[in-house]
Amino acid sequence: MSDKQQNQEDKFLAPENRKHTVIGPEGEEIHVDPLNDYFCQDLPKVEAPYKGILEKFLNWARAESLWVLAFGTGCGSIELPPLFSPRFDAYRFGVAMRPTPRQSGVLIISGYLSVKTLKRVIRSYEQMQNPKYVIALGSCTINGGMYWDSYNTINRLDQYLPVDIYIAGYMPRPESILSGFNKLKERIKNGDAEGANDYAEKLDWYKANQKKIIKDWNMPSYNW
């Protein structure tokens, strides 16, 4: 990273994330660089799939327990609670809600994304563990929907995150979300859902697109 770029990023950095000095209990000075000390700087690696029947077994296991991060970005998130109610009962498909990114494998982008939300979505996605999948709901994530000419919402999600399944509709009913989950299962079982590897491979391209619109990039380049 060049010095100029570094200064550009320093300008937006929150005070607690800047380099600073802490006085220890015995009066010694400790220099802290939070971005390097508190975050892992390693970039993601491509994990090649195993060969043959082992990968098939793993994919079957992955497909049958999809743990969804409970993170609603737009109006579509109102369709998710009924999904877990007795009427639609997504649990019978092995779909469960999880409260934190570290525990979950599926990120549902439920509706339009403003730039401010996209920043939080990227952080959440990068903190999730491999293998991870992205489902995008509604026309807003496909081509912007009714916010296609807005100054503050993105038009195409696949420019910023690798999307496995788009579910069309405005907003999709819980039935179509269930059908989307089944489609995702098929993809995983066929070994097509390689979004995390795609993200690791084309990281530079994704990061360039993300940094083009997130102008106050005040977090590490990749958030483990």
Partner: protein
């Protein structure tokens, strides 16, 4: 209601008095006299609630309009006060000393219209737009469609139809 208007007419340079929707009385006042007038209405006439503070961009007249709507809970009556300020280096006196929550309205207006309110708490911090480096987006000379096309990778193949012609073709294809 009439006595308040008469009273205000005597003390402040109000003009364009009229009635808006739902019985709200609208009037305009010079920018310099706004804060004394709001103070008087709040302390002497029971208008204790600031309902909303909003802005309008009159691009052709080179003016911004600020609308303060205040409410009298005892009489269940709304009063709207308009102020016109010039568009270049727009600046208005802050009313956060009268109503604390006005600071939030002012912060939003600063971000969306670029109208400055000196002294208002946290008025320079971003409210919705983080790291925005263009014209304030609610100004009418900001081209939001152009900005979106330049920035957000529009997906090709999107069609728009003129509603009148489209329905004509659909309903009366022979004509």
């Amino acid at each position: 209601m009439k006595e308040i208007i008469d009273h205000l007419k005597k003390r402040f340079p109000v003009y364009e008095i009229g009635e808006g929707p739902n019985g709200v009385i609208l009037m305009s006042v010079e920018a310099a006299k706004l804060v004394p007038m709001l103070t008087s209405l709040k302390t002497n006439h029971g208008y204790g609630i600031l309902v909303i503070l909003s802005a309008v961009d009159w691009l052709e007249d080179c003016k911004f309009q600020l609308t303060y709507i205040i409410n009298n809970p005892d009489e269940k009556r709304d009063l709207g006060i308009r102020v016109f300020i010039k568009r270049e280096d727009a600046e208005m006196e802050s009313i956060h000393s009268l109503w604390e929550h006005a600071a939030t309205f002012q912060r939003e207006i600063k971000e969306m219209f670029g109208i400055n309110f000196p002294g208002s708490p946290r008025v320079d911090e971003p409210f919705l737009l983080e790291g925005w480096d263009n014209l304030p987006p609610m100004r009418r000379d900001f081209d939001t469609k152009q900005y979106s096309e330049d920035t957000y990778f529009p997906r090709p193949g999107r069609e728009t139809n003129d509603p009148a012609e489209y329905m004509k073709q659909k309903l009366y294809p022979d004509e």
